[in-house]
Chain length 370, copies 2
């Protein structure tokens, strides 16, 4: 099985987005004005000028993970997923998240579902340290058949402090931050595999979900029991604001470990998997030779679906949700600092100047195109 | 016919939103910090602190107007609708729009539709004077059956310059800004009425759409011919950024007409119609005794659907998309200034202290609840 055959036509999506972008005009806000666009490579977050600061916006939704949440009537994590998809993108440019707004489209409003989503958004705001500045619920019975949840995050940074990848050089080391699970990408394929093997999401999980020490949030079972398969596949996306923003503040304020400039690039591993890293620099390459442990749900899904290894690394995070490229001489210090906040963080590879590729050395998988 | 019977259960929607809000916690950002929430009456835009400024976010979608756009394959106005719903909300707190992000959920990406939406968003950015700072296209065949388009606008204002309604007093005069048509609310009822009378949207419009001097955008017919009914019902929502922001800048910079403090409150007439004004002050009331001309599509829809007058004023803008409450001694000067930018603008009534009601005097309709 592969992602394309699970009902998502990536080429068509790419050409639709290209059509939209091709139809866009230049900004009406001139350089130097508040609101003028700031071009950065990577494009994880959209940046605009605002006096001595830059403001960043990111917008994204939870996607088809919502269909599993709906199937299990387990909405406690989706607000966290929605927040994570957005604020983790802001982190990639070095922006500190400030505020969030949610958009919920439903065929028919359901107060219980809304209360659960509200509670999940509240927890997400605490994890991402943002204010929920508003939201919209739209009843659209002719357009949506199930809940759709998306949102927009606003962040800021000081002018001159954007993380752009400009400083990236061969020899920089890659620090991987562990994922909490599938996060919020690849669920069309996940659902197809679950259907294929006739999986019952309320069954006890058929693999040891705690093998890597990762915690699984319980929607159904007690913490003392083994989690269900549904709980594992719905585990909320990790929000990386605490370790990354605290690291950036610490480096900027203390000047230790080479200061903030030691952090050369940050990649959020979302749809596209490891190929996301290609967005961060136009020519340099990335070699992952000591990856973080693969979470057991990925191994189980690969076997259950007979998915090619390259397809797995192009569709899923495989256990690493974020990558920091750090000046080599300070990488050990940065890792030690991060490990105290996020156990499981480790050096996974290095930046190379042998072509614009991402190579996952243990599996031999290589990506040359995003 | 009424709005509730057209498939939108307003009570259920209200209780779902109340459930969500009830589940929300306090912000983690303390007063004085960037991102701390700023409470304002009305709640049109969510405000946060940002140094000497406040930032405002508004999020909203086009709603079921999209189903008519889809039916006619006429996407040229929906980006303007989406922008208008958001930036017009920002204007209500006195925030100048800076940037916008769009979210498009589709069952299957279509490059032609995306190109048309992109062109419409570009025009919308020009009309609203904002930078398109990003966007997301989600393919969600299991969740949406047609295009859903929503977005988020970011605006700013100087601290201390928020338009809060605090200064509002009995005797302030109401200035109405003319609507361009149905704008983006009430389309479930519009669609029900169109079905009821078996209307053919490609027919020439059965009423004189130009009666009030309002221009109708042509998706199908030439400008010299009469517009179709479809073109009239899809006419894009008016974006009020030009007249309102230029007015606020002019008042602030020149100090003329009492300065910016002459503008006591601004209301965006959306779903809820005139009852929206009740959000702007907890005790004062509003009397509209000289309304702007009712646009002919409202009269036609009311007759075709046998809709009660009160229901019309609770569901539609009826020809007035925005209301400014202005200090009485400067209202004539402000109207004269606005009429040069937006013909059709006029004084429509006054603020009263005889109870928390909105009264539309010519029809006798009164609202006491939002």
């Amino acid at each position: 099985m592969d992602y394309a055959s699970s009902g998502v036509d990536l080429d068509l999506e790419g050409s639709a987005v290209a059509s939209l972008i091709g139809a866009l005009g230049r900004s009406v806000r001139a350089p130097g004005q508040p609101g003028a666009p700031v071009d950065l490579p990577g494009g994880f977050g959209g940046l605009i000028e605002f006096g001595d600061h830059l403001l960043a916006l990111a917008t994204d939704g939870v996607g088809s993970k919502l269909q599993l949440a709906s199937h299990l009537n387990a909405w406690g994590g989706v607000g966290i997923d929605c927040m994570a998809m957005n604020v983790n993108d802001l982190l990639c440019v070095g922006a500190e998240p400030l505020a969030f707004v949610d958009y919920i489209a439903v065929p028919k409003p359901d107060p219980e579902v809304h209360a659960a989503i509200g509670a999940s958004l509240t927890e997400a705001c605490r994890l991402a340290r943002v204010t929920l500045a508003g939201g919209e619920t739209a009843s659209l019975p002719g357009i949506v058949t199930e809940v759709d949840l998306s949102g927009t995050a606003l962040g800021f940074l000081k002018r001159g402090e954007a993380i752009t990848g400009e400083l990236l050089q061969a020899g920089d080391l890659l620090i991987g931050l562990p994922a909490s699970g599938l996060h919020s990408n690849g669920y069309s394929l996940v659902r197809r595999i679950l259907d294929h093997v006739n999986a019952d999401l309320s069954d006890i999980c058929p693999f040891d979900a705690a093998a890597t020490g990762r915690a699984v949030r319980r929607f159904v079972t007690d913490a003392d029991d083994a989690p269900t398969l549904g709980e594992v596949v719905l585990n909320p996306t990790r929000i990386y604001v605490d370790p990354v923003i605290d690291l950036l503040h610490h480096l900027a304020e203390s000047g230790e470990l080479g200061g903030r400039r030691s952090i050369r690039a940050i990649g959020h591993i979302t749809g596209g998997g490891l190929s996301n890293l290609l967005r961060l620099h136009p020519t340099l390459g990335w070699v992952i030779d000591a990856p973080l442990p693969v979470l057991p749900e990925f191994t189980w899904l690969q076997e259950a679906g007979g998915v090619a290894t390259k397809e797995m690394y192009r569709t899923f995070n495989m256990g690493m949700g974020m990558v920091l490229a750090v000046a080599a001489e300070h990488a050990n210090g940065v890792v030690a600092w991060l490990q105290r906040r996020l156990p499981g963080t480790d050096i996974v590879g290095a930046v190379h100047d042998a072509g614009h590729h991402v190579t996952h050395a243990p599996s031999g998988v290589t990506f040359s195109h995003y």
